[in-house]
């Protein structure tokens, strides 16, 4: 097991290296000049050339890559062109809202999706099952921003239960913090609830047809025990896989949700950085995101071996 951990961690290094290289080259190939953006609408060609000079953008691309890589290896993500700050500092400032949003979304999703999926499987073919499946289709088809604005209109503007927008740090107290996170989290979780409820239903339904479920009934176990202890645990591997993929996809959902609810998180930072052609920040944010993907995959693999004794590394 320890050997497996080490091997898996070692395997992440080439992955992250490839991502870094790819992002760097991709940004240099897309049109748009950071110097022009920084100089503003009234910038003269001479000003632009000066800015290029100070940012080091006039050096040949392999040289730029070399500088960036060697800084990266020393843990230096560079200076933001746009915010005039260390990128590391910038990211640290924006991490809390995004992580908080992702975690509350995940909790809401799992707490709702898994139970309704299990119930739909257990009562498959009934109206209950059809309701869950119907909701699921709806959840897939309505875009995140539409859900967001509907929830704002209903719960923030009509019923005044939640604030319309904004974010409070955890340091300012737990209630204001969570109070402002609930609507955005629900907005984000709709599509994941739809997805994970469907997968849970399919997976549990398949397991319910297995021989050991018949054995469990033949033992005289109550239905609840058969369903939760025997069926759900066996159905867990595909469910966990999809939850993992969901968390990874969440990051793209975060970008939209943070804009709708005006939350100063990594999603907003990404949008701002892209609009400002802020190369160091874009590169750093994407590296951080891919680091998170790799970490999540690693955690999923670990969960497999915990859930199923047959999976050993």
């Amino acid at each position: 097991m320890y050997g497996f951990l080490m091997r898996r961690l070692a395997a992440t290094i080439p992955v992250l290296g490839m991502v870094a290289l790819f992002v760097f080259l991709l940004l240099r190939m897309t049109p748009g000049d950071p110097a022009a953006v920084l100089a503003g609408d009234n910038g003269t060609p001479q000003q632009i050339a000066e800015i290029r000079e100070t940012l080091g953008l006039n050096k040949p691309i392999p040289v730029q890559l070399g500088i960036w890589f060697s800084n990266l290896l020393q843990g230096d993500l560079g200076q933001s062109y746009f915010f005039k700050k260390d990128v590391t500092e910038l990211i640290l400032l924006r991490v809390e809202p995004t992580v908080a949003l992702a975690i509350t979304t995940l909790v809401i999703t799992v707490l709702i999706a898994v139970p309704i999926g299990v119930i739909a499987a257990y009562r498959h073919g009934t109206w209950l099952d059809r309701c869950v499946m119907g909701f699921s289709v709806l959840g897939f088809s309505v875009p995140v921003f539409v859900v967001g604005y509907i929830l704002i209109y209903l719960f923030a503007m009509q019923f005044k239960m939640f604030p319309v927008q904004g974010y409070k740090e955890l340091a300012d107290g737990f209630f204001p913090f969570i109070h402002r996170l609930i609507l955005p989290s629900i907005t984000l979780s709709v599509i994941y609830i739809a997805l994970i409820a469907r997968i849970t239903r399919a997976s549990v339904l398949e397991v319910l047809g297995e021989d050991y479920i018949r054995t469990a009934h033949a033992k005289g176990l109550p239905n609840r025990v058969v369903l939760l202890r025997h069926a759900l645990r066996n159905a867990a591997v595909p469910i966990v896989t999809v939850i993992g993929i969901g968390v990874a996809l969440l990051i793209s959902g975060v970008v939209v949700t943070e804009s709708v609810y005006n939350i100063p998180g990594l999603g907003r930072l990404t949008v701002d950085a892209v609009l400002g052609r802020d190369y160091p920040t874009i590169q750093a944010v994407i590296l951080v995101f891919s680091g998170v993907y790799v970490l999540i995959n690693f955690l999923i693999d670990l969960t497999y071996s915990f859930l199923d004794p047959r999976i050993r590394y």
């Binding site: 050991y212 018949r214 054995t215 469990a216 005289g220 202890r229």
Partner: protein, 544 residues
């Protein structure tokens, strides 16, 4: 109610309805049977005869809204179960009546330790404390003769062999001393050696615990070993019932007679020797080692076959017999080059094919064809059977019309209607599908036909027909045949020569008649000594 205490189960007039739109109205009809304590009643029949429906009705495990018992009664120690509530049935399961199933591989929950799975029964049905439960579990594990119960207690099912898993199932079923044990084909998926041990165990425990056993099987060898009485089922009805001696020796019903006569004999058929015919297949030191692992995993390797030297002459059938994991299927797959052997040579006529490249192999492909075990899964369900049959020859350049004409001829050869070529596989029965698979293989005009457990999944009466068909085809087309089987009875009937495999090696090789008469290797002798029903000759009926 004055029910005598010697009766475990009485079923009378039990009728179970099938959902509308199926080929018959009732799954089972007016079933009458009775299982005494200390008695083993064998329920015998072919697939679809209603054996399992009968068993599941007793346990109250029929799939809801699909099958419903509409008439009759089921009494467990006098208590009526047909109208019992779901709660009452749950209370009775595993305490008064228990059931074990066919597939020990899938009947246990893979993510729960064996000890806990037995413990669940005690937790649900008793108020014993943890210590008392553990003691009881270890005791029953001891009784079912599991080695090292303490270790197996915390093991997971995948760490156990098939036989050990079935012992865990039996321990689970008997831990609370039920009066009735229903065993649904409990040994069908096991090797003969393990089967013999499990049969002996069931018999022994049943005597010690005064349990009544309803034993479901399709295998008359098993019936001969274990039954006190026998009930024969056909199309949902019991057609004959009596003591084992009576049913096996003096059957009344023509169906029973037909079934018993279809059981292949352990005495080999007399066959002409063909030692002068040319050799079609020869292997030299054939070996196959599977290895796993790579960059991120440690390497593991398993020797599946080693030093295999066999030859088959034209018109001759060589049987490879052995238990699961002995390497017989590996050898067959190497010969057909479905997998690449890791050592040795294979000659078809005089062409060496073990080491030729995949591209060069293509021209040899049509010379070797295989018929697989499961006819339900070896035909593409979405293609018409005609298309499946002509695909091979057309691939090798035969024009469509010619291939179709040949396919019609072959349908005749395998005794199917040539006009059925435009049907789909699901419109055929299991036996018919296996005939289709044979026709598909023959369409390539192979020199060597490999039958890999080709009759093992078939009912005994169909099995006899397909065996005869294969033998006819071998004679008519003068084919060399490699016949892989775990069933000694089948081997005795179709093989000229025999190779007995154990742990990847051929331990005995020679004329089938000679080996059956005088097995020389101790493994072969052990294998013969556990063949179920070896002391009976089936199909020689006595008349009074």
């Amino acid at each position: 109610m004055s029910m005598d205490t010697d009766t475990a189960l009485t079923v009378s007039g039990l009728t179970v309805e099938l959902p509308k739109g199926t080929d018959r109205r009732h799954a089972i009809e007016e079933i009458d049977l009775h299982v005494g304590r200390r008695e083993i009643l064998c329920l015998v029949g072919e697939s679809g005869s209603g054996k399992s429906v009968t068993a599941h009705s007793v346990m109250g495990l029929l799939p809801k809204d699909q099958l419903t018992a509409v008439a009759g009664s089921i009494r467990l120690e006098g208590e009526e179960l047909r109208h019992a509530t779901e709660d009452r049935l749950r209370d009775l399961r595993c305490t008064r009546m228990s059931m074990i199933f066919q597939e020990p591989m899938t009947a246990l929950n893979p993510v729960m330790s064996c000890g806990r799975q037995i413990d669940e029964v005690l937790q649900t049905h008793t108020s014993l404390d943890q210590q008392a439960r553990t003691a009881k579990i270890l005791d029953i594990m001891e009784q079912v003769r599991l080695p090292d119960p303490r270790r197996l207690f915390s093991s997971y099912p995948h760490q156990l062999s098939g036989g050990q898993r079935q012992r865990i199932m039996i321990a689970m079923a008997l831990v609370l001393d039920p009066v009735l044990l229903i065993a649904d084909e409990p040994t069908t998926a096991l090797d003969v050696t393990t089967q013999a041990q499990i049969l002996e165990l069931i018999k022994d425990l049943q005597e010690r615990h005064d349990t009544g056993v309803l034993f479901i099987t399709h295998d008359f060898g098993v019936v001969a070993e274990i039954a006190d009485r026998v009930a024969v089922m056909q199309w949902g009805r019991i057609v004959e019932q009596g003591t084992t001696e009576q049913v096996l020796k003096r059957p009344d019903h023509p169906y029973t007679k037909m079934l018993i006569s279809s059981v292949p004999s352990l005495v080999p058929r007399h066959r002409e020797t063909r030692r002068a015919a040319p050799v079609v297949l020869r292997t030299e030191e054939l070996a196959m080692t599977y290895s796993q692992g790579g960059m991120f995993q440690s390497k593991r390797s398993v020797v599946a076959a080693q030093d295999v030297n066999i030859e088959i002459r034209r018109g001759e059938t060589l049987g490879i017999v052995g238990e699961s994991g002995s390497g017989k299927t590996t050898v067959a797959r190497c010969i057909a080059r479905l997998i690449d052997p890791t050592g040795g040579r294979i000659y078809i006529d005089d062409d060496e094919i073990a080491r030729v490249s995949v591209g060069q192999m293509r021209s040899h492909r049509r010379r070797i064809q295989i018929v697989f075990q499961d006819p339900y899964r070896s035909l593409n369900p979405r293609r018409m059977v005609g298309a499946s049959i002509i695909e091979g020859p057309m691939n090798f350049g035969q024009p469509r019309d010619e291939a179709l004409a040949r396919a019609r001829e072959l349908m005749g050869l395998v005794q199917l209607d040539p006009d059925a070529l435009d049907r789909y596989p699901h419109q055929f029965s299991g036996g018919q599908r296996q005939r289709l698979c044979i026709a598909r293989a023959l369409a390539m005009e192979p020199e060597l036909l490999i039958a890999d457990e080709a009759v093992s999944a078939l009912d005994v009466s169909v099995q006899a027909q397909v065996m005869d068909l294969l033998d006819d085809i071998r004679i008519q087309l003068d084919l060399a045949m490699l016949f892989i089987t775990h069933d000694l009875r089948v081997a005795a009937q179709v093989c000229d020569r025999l190779a007995v495999m154990s742990a990847g090696k051929v331990v005995e090789y020679g004329d089938a008649a000679e080996i059956f008469a005088n097995p020389s290797h101790e493994y072969t002798r052990a294998l013969f000594s556990v063949a179920p029903g070896r002391d009976w000759t089936f199909g020689e009926f006595l008349t009074d």
